[in-house]
Protein backbone atom coordinates (compact mmCIF):
# COMPACT_ATOMS: atom_id res chain seq x y z
CA UNK A 1 0.00 0.00 0.00
CA UNK A 2 1.25 3.45 -0.79
CA UNK A 3 -0.17 6.84 -0.01
CA UNK A 4 1.01 9.63 -2.25
CA UNK A 5 2.50 12.28 0.00
CA UNK A 6 4.16 14.26 -2.78
CA UNK A 7 3.47 17.99 -2.32
CA UNK A 8 0.67 17.28 0.16
CA UNK A 9 2.37 19.51 2.73
CA UNK A 10 4.69 22.46 2.81
CA UNK A 11 7.01 24.38 5.07
CA UNK A 12 5.17 27.62 5.73
CA UNK A 13 7.24 29.25 8.44
CA UNK A 14 10.88 29.52 9.48
CA UNK A 15 12.12 30.85 12.82
CA UNK A 16 15.77 31.34 13.63
CA UNK A 17 17.18 32.85 16.82
CA UNK A 18 20.59 34.46 17.08
CA UNK A 19 23.25 31.77 16.66
CA UNK A 20 26.59 31.00 18.23
CA UNK A 21 28.05 32.49 21.40
CA UNK A 22 24.89 34.22 22.54
CA UNK A 23 23.30 33.87 25.94
CA UNK A 24 19.89 35.33 25.18
CA UNK A 25 18.29 32.48 27.10
CA UNK A 26 19.48 30.56 30.15
CA UNK A 27 18.77 27.21 28.54
CA UNK A 28 17.71 25.39 25.38
CA UNK A 29 14.01 25.67 26.22
CA UNK A 30 14.18 29.44 25.91
CA UNK A 31 15.79 29.21 22.48
CA UNK A 32 13.15 26.69 21.39
CA UNK A 33 10.30 28.99 22.42
CA UNK A 34 11.82 32.00 20.68
CA UNK A 35 12.38 29.97 17.50
CA UNK A 36 8.76 28.76 17.44
CA UNK A 37 7.43 32.28 18.06
CA UNK A 38 9.55 33.56 15.16
CA UNK A 39 8.40 30.72 12.90
CA UNK A 40 4.74 31.40 13.66
CA UNK A 41 5.22 35.10 12.99
CA UNK A 42 7.03 34.27 9.75
CA UNK A 43 4.08 32.15 8.65
CA UNK A 44 1.47 34.66 9.78
CA UNK A 45 0.08 32.22 12.31
CA UNK A 46 -0.42 32.39 16.05
CA UNK A 47 0.17 30.04 18.93
CA UNK A 48 -3.50 29.04 18.92
CA UNK A 49 -3.12 27.66 15.39
CA UNK A 50 -0.62 25.03 16.51
CA UNK A 51 -1.94 21.54 17.10
CA UNK A 52 1.34 19.69 16.70
CA UNK A 53 4.72 20.06 18.40
CA UNK A 54 7.76 17.94 17.56
CA UNK A 55 11.01 18.47 19.43
CA UNK A 56 14.57 17.40 18.77
CA UNK A 57 16.42 18.07 22.01
CA UNK A 58 20.08 19.02 21.78
CA UNK A 59 22.74 17.72 24.14
CA UNK A 60 21.83 20.10 26.95
CA UNK A 61 18.33 18.79 27.54
CA UNK A 62 18.91 15.10 26.91
CA UNK A 63 17.95 14.35 30.51
CA UNK A 64 14.46 15.65 29.72
CA UNK A 65 12.84 12.45 28.47
CA UNK A 66 9.55 14.25 27.71
CA UNK A 67 10.98 17.43 26.26
CA UNK A 68 8.01 18.07 23.98
CA UNK A 69 5.59 18.02 26.91
CA UNK A 70 7.83 20.31 28.97
CA UNK A 71 7.97 22.68 26.03
CA UNK A 72 4.21 22.52 25.53
CA UNK A 73 3.68 23.51 29.16
CA UNK A 74 6.32 26.22 29.05
CA UNK A 75 4.63 27.76 26.00
CA UNK A 76 1.12 27.31 27.32
CA UNK A 77 0.03 25.23 24.32
CA UNK A 78 -3.28 23.44 24.80
CA UNK A 79 -5.21 20.75 22.93
CA UNK A 80 -2.38 19.44 20.75
CA UNK A 81 -3.24 16.38 18.68
CA UNK A 82 0.37 15.44 17.88
CA UNK A 83 3.56 15.63 19.87
CA UNK A 84 6.83 13.75 20.25
CA UNK A 85 10.38 14.12 21.44
CA UNK A 86 12.43 12.66 18.62
CA UNK A 87 16.08 11.81 18.36
CA UNK A 88 17.91 10.34 15.39
CA UNK A 89 20.77 12.74 15.96
CA UNK A 90 21.38 14.95 12.96
CA UNK A 91 18.75 13.12 10.90
CA UNK A 92 15.98 14.26 13.25
CA UNK A 93 15.06 17.51 11.50
CA UNK A 94 14.12 15.63 8.35
CA UNK A 95 12.41 12.93 10.37
CA UNK A 96 10.30 15.49 12.28
CA UNK A 97 9.17 17.05 9.01
CA UNK A 98 8.29 13.56 7.71
CA UNK A 99 6.31 12.77 10.84
CA UNK A 100 4.48 16.08 10.61
CA UNK A 101 3.69 15.55 6.92
CA UNK A 102 2.39 12.04 7.49
CA UNK A 103 0.20 13.19 10.37
CA UNK A 104 -1.20 16.18 8.46
CA UNK A 105 -1.87 14.07 5.35
CA UNK A 106 -3.67 11.54 7.55
CA UNK A 107 -5.86 14.23 9.07
CA UNK A 108 -4.33 13.89 12.52
CA UNK A 109 -2.96 17.43 12.79
CA UNK A 110 -3.10 20.70 10.87
CA UNK A 111 -0.25 22.98 11.89
CA UNK A 112 2.87 21.38 13.32
CA UNK A 113 5.94 23.13 14.75
CA UNK A 114 9.22 21.21 14.44
CA UNK A 115 12.00 22.62 16.58
CA UNK A 116 15.63 22.06 17.48
CA UNK A 117 17.36 24.05 20.22
CA UNK A 118 20.50 23.73 22.25
CA UNK A 119 22.68 25.79 24.58
CA UNK A 120 25.97 23.95 25.09
CA UNK A 121 28.05 27.14 25.30
CA UNK A 122 28.28 28.81 28.71
CA UNK A 123 28.75 32.51 29.43
CA UNK A 124 32.24 33.62 30.48
CA UNK A 125 32.69 32.91 34.16
CA UNK A 126 33.37 36.06 36.24
CA UNK A 127 36.03 34.39 38.42
CA UNK A 128 38.17 32.91 35.70
CA UNK A 129 37.36 35.33 32.90
CA UNK A 130 37.03 32.51 30.43
CA UNK A 131 34.26 30.35 29.14
CA UNK A 132 33.40 27.30 31.16
CA UNK A 133 31.92 24.27 29.50
CA UNK A 134 31.82 24.76 25.77
CA UNK A 135 31.92 22.25 23.01
CA UNK A 136 34.72 20.16 24.43
CA UNK A 137 32.87 19.66 27.69
CA UNK A 138 29.54 19.00 26.02
CA UNK A 139 30.83 16.63 23.37
CA UNK A 140 33.99 15.19 24.92
CA UNK A 141 32.36 12.39 26.84
CA UNK A 142 34.04 9.02 27.26
CA UNK A 143 33.67 6.06 29.57
CA UNK A 144 35.63 3.05 30.68
CA UNK A 145 38.54 1.91 28.56
CA UNK A 146 38.02 4.61 25.94
CA UNK A 147 38.75 7.31 28.51
CA UNK A 148 41.88 5.43 29.61
CA UNK A 149 43.12 5.35 26.02
CA UNK A 150 42.27 9.02 25.55
CA UNK A 151 39.46 8.41 23.05
CA UNK A 152 37.11 11.29 23.84
CA UNK A 153 34.05 12.45 21.98
CA UNK A 154 32.55 12.28 18.53
CA UNK A 155 35.41 14.06 16.72
CA UNK A 156 37.76 11.23 17.63
CA UNK A 157 35.39 8.49 16.48
CA UNK A 158 34.57 10.24 13.20
CA UNK A 159 38.29 10.63 12.60
CA UNK A 160 38.68 6.83 12.52
CA UNK A 161 36.18 6.63 9.67
CA UNK A 162 37.73 9.51 7.74
CA UNK A 163 41.18 7.97 8.12
CA UNK A 164 39.96 4.74 6.52
CA UNK A 165 38.42 6.65 3.61
CA UNK A 166 41.76 8.36 3.05
CA UNK A 167 43.57 5.04 3.21
CA UNK A 168 41.23 3.11 0.89
CA UNK A 169 40.44 5.80 -1.67
CA UNK A 170 43.41 8.15 -1.55
CA UNK A 171 41.33 11.01 -0.17
CA UNK A 172 43.69 13.82 0.83
CA UNK A 173 43.68 16.54 3.45
CA UNK A 174 43.22 19.12 0.68
CA UNK A 175 40.01 17.40 -0.35
CA UNK A 176 38.57 17.96 3.10
CA UNK A 177 40.01 21.47 2.93
CA UNK A 178 38.24 22.14 -0.39
CA UNK A 179 34.91 21.52 1.34
CA UNK A 180 35.80 23.79 4.27
CA UNK A 181 36.93 26.56 1.91
CA UNK A 182 33.83 26.25 -0.32
CA UNK A 183 31.51 26.52 2.67
CA UNK A 184 33.49 29.49 3.96
CA UNK A 185 33.13 31.20 0.59
CA UNK A 186 29.36 30.74 0.92
CA UNK A 187 29.41 32.02 4.52
CA UNK A 188 31.16 35.18 3.34
CA UNK A 189 27.95 35.92 1.42
CA UNK A 190 25.64 35.26 4.40
CA UNK A 191 25.41 38.02 7.03
CA UNK A 192 23.83 35.56 9.50
CA UNK A 193 26.84 33.22 9.34
CA UNK A 194 29.31 33.32 12.21
CA UNK A 195 32.21 33.45 9.73
CA UNK A 196 30.59 36.07 7.46
CA UNK A 197 33.50 38.46 7.94
CA UNK A 198 36.26 35.86 7.89
CA UNK A 199 37.50 34.71 4.49
CA UNK A 200 39.57 31.53 4.45
CA UNK A 201 42.09 30.18 1.94
CA UNK A 202 43.43 26.65 1.71
CA UNK A 203 46.60 27.95 3.39
CA UNK A 204 44.49 29.29 6.29
CA UNK A 205 42.76 25.92 6.51
CA UNK A 206 46.06 24.05 6.67
CA UNK A 207 47.52 26.49 9.18
CA UNK A 208 44.65 26.11 11.64
CA UNK A 209 45.28 23.94 14.67
CA UNK A 210 44.46 20.28 14.63
CA UNK A 211 41.54 19.05 16.71
CA UNK A 212 42.10 15.39 15.99
CA UNK A 213 43.89 14.30 12.85
CA UNK A 214 42.74 14.16 10.12
CA UNK A 215 40.46 17.01 11.25
CA UNK A 216 41.70 20.57 11.47
CA UNK A 217 39.69 23.12 13.41
CA UNK A 218 37.75 24.04 10.27
CA UNK A 219 36.79 20.46 9.47
CA UNK A 220 34.54 20.56 12.52
CA UNK A 221 31.16 22.24 12.91
CA UNK A 222 30.50 25.39 14.90
CA UNK A 223 28.83 24.25 18.11
CA UNK A 224 26.29 26.97 18.81
CA UNK A 225 23.63 28.23 21.14
CA UNK A 226 20.34 28.84 19.38
CA UNK A 227 17.01 27.52 18.21
CA UNK A 228 15.51 26.79 14.79
CA UNK A 229 11.89 25.96 14.04
CA UNK A 230 9.78 25.32 10.98
CA UNK A 231 6.01 25.24 10.63
CA UNK A 232 4.61 22.41 8.52
CA UNK A 233 1.04 22.55 7.26
CA UNK A 234 -1.03 21.34 4.33
CA UNK A 235 -0.09 22.68 0.90
CA UNK A 236 -3.58 24.18 0.61
CA UNK A 237 -3.29 26.11 3.85
CA UNK A 238 0.30 27.13 3.13
CA UNK A 239 -0.83 28.88 -0.05
CA UNK A 240 -2.88 31.35 2.00
CA UNK A 241 0.00 32.25 4.35
CA UNK A 242 2.64 35.00 4.21
CA UNK A 243 5.38 33.29 2.20
CA UNK A 244 5.33 31.12 -0.92
CA UNK A 245 5.05 27.49 0.27
CA UNK A 246 8.14 25.33 0.22
CA UNK A 247 6.60 22.08 -0.95
CA UNK A 248 7.70 18.78 0.52
CA UNK A 249 8.03 16.63 -2.59
CA UNK A 250 9.88 13.62 -1.27
CA UNK A 251 10.96 12.12 2.04
CA UNK A 252 13.02 9.12 3.06
CA UNK A 253 15.12 7.59 5.77
CA UNK A 254 18.02 5.13 5.79
CA UNK A 255 19.82 3.62 8.74
CA UNK A 256 22.36 1.06 7.55
CA UNK A 257 23.51 -0.42 10.87
CA UNK A 258 26.86 -2.17 11.20
CA UNK A 259 30.21 -0.45 11.54
CA UNK A 260 30.73 2.66 9.40
CA UNK A 261 34.48 1.96 9.42
CA UNK A 262 33.79 -1.19 7.40
CA UNK A 263 31.46 0.32 4.83
CA UNK A 264 32.27 4.05 4.68
CA UNK A 265 28.69 4.44 3.46
CA UNK A 266 25.97 6.56 5.07
CA UNK A 267 22.22 5.90 5.04
CA UNK A 268 21.86 8.19 2.02
CA UNK A 269 21.50 5.48 -0.66
CA UNK A 270 18.55 3.95 1.21
CA UNK A 271 16.91 7.26 2.10
CA UNK A 272 17.40 8.66 -1.41
CA UNK A 273 15.62 5.70 -2.99
CA UNK A 274 12.42 6.37 -1.07
CA UNK A 275 12.58 10.15 -1.31
CA UNK A 276 13.41 10.43 -5.02
CA UNK A 277 10.74 7.91 -5.94
CA UNK A 278 8.15 9.87 -3.97
CA UNK A 279 9.27 13.15 -5.52
CA UNK A 280 9.49 11.66 -9.01
CA UNK A 281 12.93 13.14 -9.59
CA UNK A 282 16.41 12.07 -10.56
CA UNK A 283 19.71 13.40 -9.34
CA UNK A 284 20.08 15.69 -12.35
CA UNK A 285 16.91 17.54 -11.31
CA UNK A 286 18.55 18.86 -8.13
CA UNK A 287 19.36 22.58 -8.35
CA UNK A 288 21.18 22.86 -5.03
CA UNK A 289 21.96 20.66 -2.04
CA UNK A 290 22.05 21.37 1.69
CA UNK A 291 24.02 18.42 3.06
CA UNK A 292 24.53 17.65 6.71
CA UNK A 293 28.06 18.72 7.57
CA UNK A 294 29.05 17.98 11.14
CA UNK A 295 32.47 17.51 9.48
CA UNK A 296 33.85 18.22 6.02
CA UNK A 297 34.23 14.46 5.67
CA UNK A 298 30.48 13.94 6.12
CA UNK A 299 29.81 16.13 3.08
CA UNK A 300 32.33 14.17 1.03
CA UNK A 301 30.70 10.83 1.86
CA UNK A 302 27.20 12.24 1.37
CA UNK A 303 28.07 13.52 -2.12
CA UNK A 304 29.30 10.03 -3.01
CA UNK A 305 26.30 8.29 -1.48
CA UNK A 306 23.74 10.37 -3.38
CA UNK A 307 25.60 9.52 -6.55
CA UNK A 308 26.98 12.96 -7.45
CA UNK A 309 30.20 11.01 -7.99
CA UNK A 310 31.35 7.41 -7.61
CA UNK A 311 32.16 5.90 -4.23
CA UNK A 312 35.63 6.97 -3.24
CA UNK A 313 35.76 9.88 -5.70
CA UNK A 314 34.33 12.51 -3.37
CA UNK A 315 37.77 14.05 -2.93
CA UNK A 316 38.52 14.81 -6.58
CA UNK A 317 34.84 15.80 -7.04
CA UNK A 318 35.06 18.74 -4.65
CA UNK A 319 38.31 20.08 -6.10
CA UNK A 320 38.33 23.31 -8.06
CA UNK A 321 35.50 24.94 -6.15
CA UNK A 322 32.82 22.73 -7.66
CA UNK A 323 30.52 23.05 -4.63
CA UNK A 324 31.35 26.70 -3.88
CA UNK A 325 29.59 29.91 -4.99
CA UNK A 326 31.11 29.77 -8.48
CA UNK A 327 30.82 26.01 -8.86
CA UNK A 328 28.42 23.88 -10.84
CA UNK A 329 26.77 22.24 -7.79
CA UNK A 330 25.86 24.70 -5.01
CA UNK A 331 26.24 22.90 -1.66
CA UNK A 332 25.61 24.35 1.81
CA UNK A 333 24.93 27.76 0.43
CA UNK A 334 24.65 29.54 3.77
CA UNK A 335 28.07 28.37 4.96
CA UNK A 336 26.68 25.21 6.51
CA UNK A 337 27.39 23.99 10.00
CA UNK A 338 31.11 24.48 9.39
CA UNK A 339 31.02 28.23 8.78
CA UNK A 340 27.54 29.39 9.74
CA UNK A 341 26.15 27.54 12.79
CA UNK A 342 25.51 24.01 14.02
CA UNK A 343 21.86 23.34 14.76
CA UNK A 344 21.99 19.65 13.91
CA UNK A 345 19.76 18.84 10.91
CA UNK A 346 17.88 22.12 11.11
CA UNK A 347 20.80 24.06 9.62
CA UNK A 348 20.43 22.52 6.13
CA UNK A 349 16.61 22.68 6.33
CA UNK A 350 16.62 26.39 7.16
CA UNK A 351 19.00 27.32 4.35
CA UNK A 352 16.95 25.31 1.86
CA UNK A 353 13.82 27.23 2.83
CA UNK A 354 15.59 30.57 2.39
CA UNK A 355 16.95 29.54 -1.03
CA UNK A 356 13.63 28.07 -2.15
CA UNK A 357 11.85 31.33 -1.33
CA UNK A 358 14.45 33.29 -3.28
CA UNK A 359 15.38 35.30 -0.17
CA UNK A 360 19.08 34.42 -0.06
CA UNK A 361 20.27 37.80 -1.42
CA UNK A 362 23.99 37.75 -2.27
CA UNK A 363 24.15 33.98 -1.98
CA UNK A 364 20.95 33.23 -3.89
CA UNK A 365 21.46 30.34 -6.27
CA UNK A 366 20.11 31.11 -9.79
CA UNK A 367 18.00 27.95 -10.07
CA UNK A 368 16.07 26.95 -7.00
CA UNK A 369 13.12 24.88 -8.11
CA UNK A 370 14.27 21.65 -6.47
CA UNK A 371 16.50 21.40 -3.42
CA UNK A 372 17.99 18.38 -1.68
CA UNK A 373 18.31 18.34 2.12
CA UNK A 374 20.17 15.62 4.01
CA UNK A 375 20.39 14.84 7.69
CA UNK A 376 22.92 12.51 9.25
CA UNK A 377 23.09 11.28 12.82
CA UNK A 378 25.66 9.40 14.84
CA UNK A 379 28.64 8.35 12.75
CA UNK A 380 27.01 7.77 9.36
CA UNK A 381 24.41 5.93 11.46
CA UNK A 382 21.07 7.57 10.66
CA UNK A 383 20.02 9.47 7.57
CA UNK A 384 17.06 11.50 6.37
CA UNK A 385 16.38 12.91 2.91
CA UNK A 386 14.00 15.70 1.99
CA UNK A 387 13.32 16.82 -1.55
CA UNK A 388 11.85 20.32 -1.44
CA UNK A 389 10.24 22.18 -4.29
CA UNK A 390 9.25 25.75 -5.11
CA UNK A 391 6.31 24.33 -7.07
CA UNK A 392 3.92 21.49 -6.23
Amino acid sequence: MTTDLRAKCAIAGLGQTRMGKNFDHPNAMGFAIEAIELALEDAGLSREDLDGLLVNPGVTWMENAMASFSLQQAMGLTDLTLTATMNLGGATAGAMIMHATQAIAAGMANVVACVFADAPLRPPSPEKGKAAGGSAAAYGFARGLNAYYGQFGVNAAYAFVAQRHMHLYGTRQEHLGAIAVAERDWANLNPAAQFYDAPMTMADYNAARWVVEPFHLYDCCLVSNGGLAVIVTSAERAKSLKHPPVYILGMGQGHPGGDPMDTLVSGAPLAKKTAFKMAGIELGDIDFAELYDCYTFTVLVTLEDYGFCKKGEGGPFVEGGRIGPKGSLPVNTGGGQLSSFYMWGMTPVAEAVVQMRGEAAARQVPRHDIGLVSGNGGILSTHSTLVLGANP
Binding site: G144, L145, Y149, G150, Q151, F152, V211, E213, P214, M261
Partner: protein, 137 residues
Protein backbone atom coordinates in the same frame (compact mmCIF):
# COMPACT_ATOMS: atom_id res chain seq x y z
CA UNK B 1 54.54 5.15 32.87
CA UNK B 2 53.03 8.18 31.24
CA UNK B 3 49.61 6.73 31.92
CA UNK B 4 49.63 7.71 35.59
CA UNK B 5 46.62 9.84 36.20
CA UNK B 6 44.61 8.48 33.34
CA UNK B 7 40.96 7.79 34.20
CA UNK B 8 41.02 4.18 35.40
CA UNK B 9 38.15 2.09 34.06
CA UNK B 10 35.74 0.60 36.56
CA UNK B 11 35.76 -3.20 36.57
CA UNK B 12 32.07 -3.68 35.88
CA UNK B 13 30.68 -7.23 36.26
CA UNK B 14 30.27 -7.64 32.50
CA UNK B 15 33.94 -6.76 31.89
CA UNK B 16 35.44 -8.67 34.86
CA UNK B 17 36.60 -11.57 32.67
CA UNK B 18 38.47 -9.16 30.43
CA UNK B 19 40.47 -7.71 33.31
CA UNK B 20 41.09 -11.13 34.89
CA UNK B 21 42.60 -12.26 31.60
CA UNK B 22 44.70 -9.12 31.36
CA UNK B 23 46.12 -9.84 34.82
CA UNK B 24 47.32 -13.20 33.44
CA UNK B 25 48.72 -11.51 30.36
CA UNK B 26 45.95 -12.73 28.09
CA UNK B 27 43.84 -10.62 25.75
CA UNK B 28 40.21 -11.70 26.06
CA UNK B 29 37.07 -11.31 23.96
CA UNK B 30 33.55 -12.56 24.55
CA UNK B 31 32.39 -15.70 22.73
CA UNK B 32 28.67 -16.29 22.28
CA UNK B 33 27.63 -19.52 24.04
CA UNK B 34 25.13 -20.22 21.26
CA UNK B 35 26.65 -19.40 17.87
CA UNK B 36 30.29 -18.92 18.80
CA UNK B 37 30.53 -15.38 17.42
CA UNK B 38 33.28 -13.30 19.01
CA UNK B 39 32.66 -9.75 20.22
CA UNK B 40 34.21 -6.87 22.07
CA UNK B 41 33.42 -5.04 24.29
CA UNK B 42 31.00 -7.04 26.41
CA UNK B 43 27.34 -7.16 25.45
CA UNK B 44 24.35 -8.69 27.20
CA UNK B 45 23.38 -10.61 24.10
CA UNK B 46 24.72 -11.60 20.73
CA UNK B 47 23.84 -9.26 17.84
CA UNK B 48 24.17 -12.21 15.42
CA UNK B 49 21.88 -14.82 17.05
CA UNK B 50 20.34 -12.82 19.93
CA UNK B 51 21.49 -15.58 22.29
CA UNK B 52 22.16 -14.69 25.90
CA UNK B 53 25.22 -15.92 27.66
CA UNK B 54 28.85 -15.61 26.61
CA UNK B 55 32.25 -16.74 27.85
CA UNK B 56 35.46 -14.75 27.90
CA UNK B 57 38.06 -16.53 25.77
CA UNK B 58 41.70 -15.67 25.10
CA UNK B 59 42.75 -14.56 21.62
CA UNK B 60 46.19 -14.43 20.01
CA UNK B 61 46.74 -10.75 20.80
CA UNK B 62 47.81 -10.25 17.19
CA UNK B 63 46.11 -8.00 14.71
CA UNK B 64 46.63 -5.01 12.50
CA UNK B 65 45.93 -1.31 12.60
CA UNK B 66 42.44 -0.84 11.15
CA UNK B 67 42.31 2.89 11.74
CA UNK B 68 43.73 5.57 14.02
CA UNK B 69 43.51 9.22 14.92
CA UNK B 70 45.90 11.70 16.46
CA UNK B 71 44.41 13.63 19.34
CA UNK B 72 45.54 17.24 19.77
CA UNK B 73 42.83 18.55 22.06
CA UNK B 74 43.00 17.90 25.81
CA UNK B 75 39.73 16.54 27.19
CA UNK B 76 41.19 15.25 30.46
CA UNK B 77 44.13 16.70 32.42
CA UNK B 78 46.00 13.37 32.36
CA UNK B 79 46.60 13.86 28.64
CA UNK B 80 47.84 17.46 28.80
CA UNK B 81 51.48 16.39 28.57
CA UNK B 82 50.77 13.67 26.01
CA UNK B 83 49.19 15.57 23.10
CA UNK B 84 49.52 14.87 20.31
CA UNK B 85 48.91 11.20 20.97
CA UNK B 86 47.38 8.50 18.80
CA UNK B 87 44.38 6.29 19.49
CA UNK B 88 44.20 3.18 17.34
CA UNK B 89 41.60 0.68 16.21
CA UNK B 90 43.09 -2.80 16.07
CA UNK B 91 41.40 -5.50 14.03
CA UNK B 92 42.31 -8.72 15.78
CA UNK B 93 43.22 -11.80 13.74
CA UNK B 94 40.13 -13.42 15.23
CA UNK B 95 37.87 -10.61 13.94
CA UNK B 96 36.76 -8.23 16.70
CA UNK B 97 38.04 -4.66 16.76
CA UNK B 98 39.50 -2.93 19.81
CA UNK B 99 40.23 0.71 20.56
CA UNK B 100 43.65 1.08 22.19
CA UNK B 101 47.02 2.84 22.11
CA UNK B 102 50.18 1.86 20.28
CA UNK B 103 53.46 2.00 22.19
CA UNK B 104 56.98 2.15 20.81
CA UNK B 105 56.19 4.29 17.79
CA UNK B 106 55.61 7.98 17.10
CA UNK B 107 52.01 8.91 16.24
CA UNK B 108 52.88 10.12 12.76
CA UNK B 109 54.61 6.84 11.89
CA UNK B 110 51.41 4.85 12.39
CA UNK B 111 49.87 3.44 9.19
CA UNK B 112 46.71 1.46 8.53
CA UNK B 113 47.59 -2.19 7.98
CA UNK B 114 50.60 -2.25 10.32
CA UNK B 115 50.87 -5.57 12.17
CA UNK B 116 50.65 -5.22 15.95
CA UNK B 117 50.62 -7.41 19.04
CA UNK B 118 49.29 -6.92 22.54
CA UNK B 119 51.36 -5.76 25.49
CA UNK B 120 50.14 -4.94 28.99
CA UNK B 121 50.74 -2.04 31.30
CA UNK B 122 49.75 -1.40 34.88
CA UNK B 123 46.76 0.92 35.20
CA UNK B 124 46.03 2.36 38.62
CA UNK B 125 46.56 0.23 41.74
CA UNK B 126 45.71 -3.25 40.59
CA UNK B 127 44.69 -3.37 36.94
CA UNK B 128 46.61 -4.56 33.91
CA UNK B 129 45.47 -2.88 30.72
CA UNK B 130 46.22 -4.04 27.17
CA UNK B 131 47.95 -1.80 24.68
CA UNK B 132 49.59 -2.76 21.40
CA UNK B 133 53.07 -2.54 19.89
CA UNK B 134 54.35 -3.03 16.35
CA UNK B 135 55.39 -6.58 15.41
CA UNK B 136 57.22 -8.09 12.49
CA UNK B 137 54.87 -9.43 9.85
Amino acid sequence: MASVGRPIPAVTPDMAGFFEGARRGQLMVEKCDHCGALRFPAHDLCAKCLGRGATWVPVSGRGEIYSFNIMHQVYHPAFAAEVPYAVIVVKLEEGPKMISNLVGIKPHEIRIGMPVEVTFERGGEDLMIPKFRPRAR
